[in-house]
């Protein structure tokens, strides 16, 4: 059905990594997993299959991709789109419409389906994918998981033979990942061919027929499902892969760093509303510096709103926040705290790394700048433009800026979404360094492996309130796993 033969590709802009001598044969009805470290070439292979390479992305190409024995290169993109459907990584930028119904029918409209046929197909999809709740909605009001479901439905609507999915779980919580798994299982049952590139592997383990591991643009190994599932944790680490069994995650149980002067953040009877609707009610807790607190809960539970409230970006409806017994105003909160956003590009403003660090800071202390840049491993990059940095470096730069403006509370919004094992470990060590430096750290996350690697405490939101608040230890780690796999 699909043959990739001696395929090499290098992008003209040389920013993204290419692939070298790839050979993959896929039979009809198989599900193939592409995995490996960030920048290993997974996405490039996906683009070679759906035809965006060479049509949209320019570069040097050798070899060929054959679809039903015809080279993809010679086909028109709109012909290909009837056979190969792609679900992209970022749900935000793959939507062409602003309401869900129009988005679902977008592909069908392009292919000029008659109106009656569209209506019939729409009814069918709505029941097969259980979309009743999502019909006729504004896309900007959907959660990440719901968006991904609509993206999937719109590709599913035109019934291609091959589905390619590019890191579809990056922005999803545990429940949404279960939904995604269900949708892939449905495709498999219908005999569709599926190629999925992914970092999170655990949800795919029953679905895949073959796993292809890549590194630096080359295939390093190919496993059958059975062999792949028998890889030990150590072997997975060496390949740069995430865990296959979420229930086996090893908790580190780091103890709190010993520090003389402890800062204390007290959140008292806090209620937060969004557009006159209560998002979270009666939240209370005390956070101490040196603690890394994971904020968890399903998509839409109010985690981000809560984080914005801590940082003084969202007004409290009632209640107060105290820092070292002093009551904080919104302005004071914003001065004390910093948020490292999920898309860190929004918070980089200056033209060099060095200027970025001191942007907006009065009375700059040059020694501190040097020390922080060294700690964040950015010293060699001081003259680079922030936008030329890699994702991880940008994240570290945002953290550096917060340290130089002497923030005491640092909130991370999903810092590990779409990261491989090594990058996740790096983020986790940054958080631990910040804890050593006596900061109060909150981290919004869906990533259990990441929580296990560095967090001390879990705050779980749901149903408009705080549902859990406990320090991680040997007794409750089983419970934590259950809340993530249920």
């Amino acid at each position: 059905m699909l043959k990739i033969e001696q395929y090499s590709f290098h992008y003209t802009d040389e920013k993204s990594e290419g692939i070298e001598n790839i050979n993959i044969h896929v039979k009809k009805g198989q599900c193939i997993l592409l995995c490996g470290k960030s920048g290993c070439g997974k996405t490039t292979i996906i683009r070679a299959i759906n035809g965006l390479i060479p049509y949209f992305y320019a570069g040097k190409l050798k070899g060929q991709v054959l679809l039903n024995n015809q080279p993809v290169e010679n086909r028109k993109m709109y012909e290909l789109s009837e056979q190969v459907g792609t679900v992209f990584q970022n749900p935000r930028s793959q939507f062409f419409n602003v309401d869900t119904d129009s988005e679902i029918v977008f592909g069908m409209e392009n292919m000029a389906y008659p109106k009656e046929m569209m209506e019939e197909r729409m009814r069918q999809i709505t029941s097969e994918l259980r979309l009743e709740r999502l019909r006729r909605r504004n896309i900007f009001h959907l959660s990440g998981g719901e968006k991904q479901k609509i993206a999937f439905a719109s590709v599913y609507a035109v019934a291609p033979d091959i589905f390619v999915l590019d890191e579809p779980s990056s922005n999803l919580d545990a429940a949404a990942i279960e939904d995604l798994k269900g949708m892939i299982a449905l495709l498999k049952m219908q005999g569709k061919t599926i190629i999925v590139s992914e970092h999170r592997l655990y949800y795919l383990k029953e679905l895949i027929d073959r796993a292809i591991v890549l590194n630096k643009g080359q295939i390093v190994s190919v496993y059958s499902q059975k062999d792949f599932l028998q890889l030990s944790d150590l072997q997975l680490r060496q390949l740069g892969l995430r865990t296959l069994y979420l229930d086996n995650v090893q908790f580190q149980h780091k103890s709190l760093p010993a520090e003389q002067k402890v800062h204390e953040l007290v959140v008292k009877d806090v209620t937060i509303s969004h557009k006159k609707r209560k998002v979270l009610e009666n939240i209370q807790f005390t956070a101490k510096s040196g603690e890394i607190i994971a904020i968890t809960g399903h998509n839409g539970a109010g985690k981000t709103t809560f984080a914005r409230a801590i940082c003084g970006l969202h007004k409290l409806s009632s209640g107060n926040i105290y820092f070292n017994k002093q009551k904080l105003t919104l302005k004071k909160q914003a001065q004390l705290s910093y948020m490292v956003m999920q898309d860190v590009n929004y918070q980089l403003f200056a033209e060099t790394v060095e200027k970025e660090c001191v942007f907006g800071v009065k009375n700059v202390n040059p020694n501190l700048v040097r020390k922080v840049l060294e700690e964040m491993d950015l010293l060699e990059l001081v003259n680079r433009h922030p936008n030329t940095l890699s994702g991880g470096q940008k994240q570290r730069l945002a953290v550096a800026a917060s340290l130089i403006s002497e923030k005491e509370i640092i909130v991370f919004d999903e810092p590990t979404s779409g990261l491989d094992f090594d990058s996740m470990q790096k983020v986790s060590s940054i958080l631990q360094n910040l804890a050593e430096a006596n900061k109060i750290i909150f981290v919004i996350t869906h990533d259990l492996e990441f929580i296990a690697s560095c967090c001390h405490r879990i705050l779980r939101f749901g149903d408009g309130m705080k549902q859990d608040d406990y320090k991680l230890n040997k007794e409750n780690h089983q419970y934590t796993i259950e809340t993530f796999t249920r």
């Binding site: 062409f96 000029a112 389906y113 109106k115 209506e119 956003m341």
Partner: protein
């Protein structure tokens, strides 16, 4: 998900009191542009504004028309006050500034109406029907698609600015114009170029370049209401130029 948001989303696009064909709206936008140029008097402008705002209201953009009405009133107020109490260079500055905004205001409101009440697939189908090439339609549609996204980007950027101690308000802008502008356009441009790229790739992969004439899930055609609205606007603009 939650009732409040759902309602708001629906209100914006579904509970129309009546609908217009996208072609009518494009015609009105062009017409209003012409009217602003031809405008013979202040009287004419105010009536034009009133007609546009009533149209917005009738098409279900309640809060939008209210906000625009307040905005227009505010501009008129500033204009009046500065004419009465200021003199010399200050008067010149304020009066010409408010005059400029007042002049383009009808176009802005009309553009808002077009973006706010038109689904992108309707827009594309309507343009396709008057035989405009896909090479023109696709970039226009991407642009229309990007407008609401700017709002979302702006929210993130505002947060990021506040965390750096830079105020994303008018006062902040007056205190520190260069820095404020830099803070807004650098991330906005970065986000825009990345999104435009991904959006194009995604739409190509979904067959947007198919040469067949697009079909549309929604019904797009001229109705009686289209002819009435077009008649009223055309009559007013050309009649008004002579009468007022």
């Amino acid at each position: 998900m939650n009732k409040g948001e759902e309602l708001q989303g629906n209100m914006h696009m579904h509970v129309f009191t009546f609908k217009l064909d996208p072609r009518t709206k494009i015609y009105l936008l062009l017409l209003v542009n012409a009217a602003v140029f031809l405008s013979p008097s202040f009287q004419f402008e105010r009536i034009l504004m009133a007609i546009i705002l009533s149209l917005c209201f009738l098409m279900g953009m309640f809060s939008f028309s209210l906000k625009m009405m307040l905005g227009y009133g505010l501009i008129l107020g500033v204009h009046l006050v500065s004419e009465m109490f200021l003199s010399g260079a200050w008067e010149l500055m304020f009066v010409s500034f408010t005059m400029f905004i007042r002049k383009i205001f009808p176009c802005v409101v009309m553009g808002g109406l077009l973006v706010g009440t038109t689904k992108i697939n309707e827009f594309m189908t309507a343009l396709g029907k008057i035989r405009i090439s896909k090479k023109v339609i696709i970039p226009l549609a991407v642009m229309l698609r990007y407008f609401p996204m700017i709002g979302e980007d702006w929210r993130y950027i505002k947060d990021a600015m506040k965390l750096r101690g830079i105020s994303p308000s008018i006062i902040g802008f007056l205190k520190n114009p260069v820095q404020t502008v830099e803070c807004i356009y650098v991330p906005l441009l970065m986000a825009a170029s990345k999104i435009a790229d991904e959006l194009s790739a995604a739409s190509i992969a979904r067959g947007i370049e198919n040469p067949k004439e697009r079909t549309c899930f929604q019904h797009v055609s001229f109705q009686f209401s289209d002819s009435i609205v077009m008649f009223i606007f055309t009559f007013f603009v050309f009649g008004g130029v002579f009468i007022c």
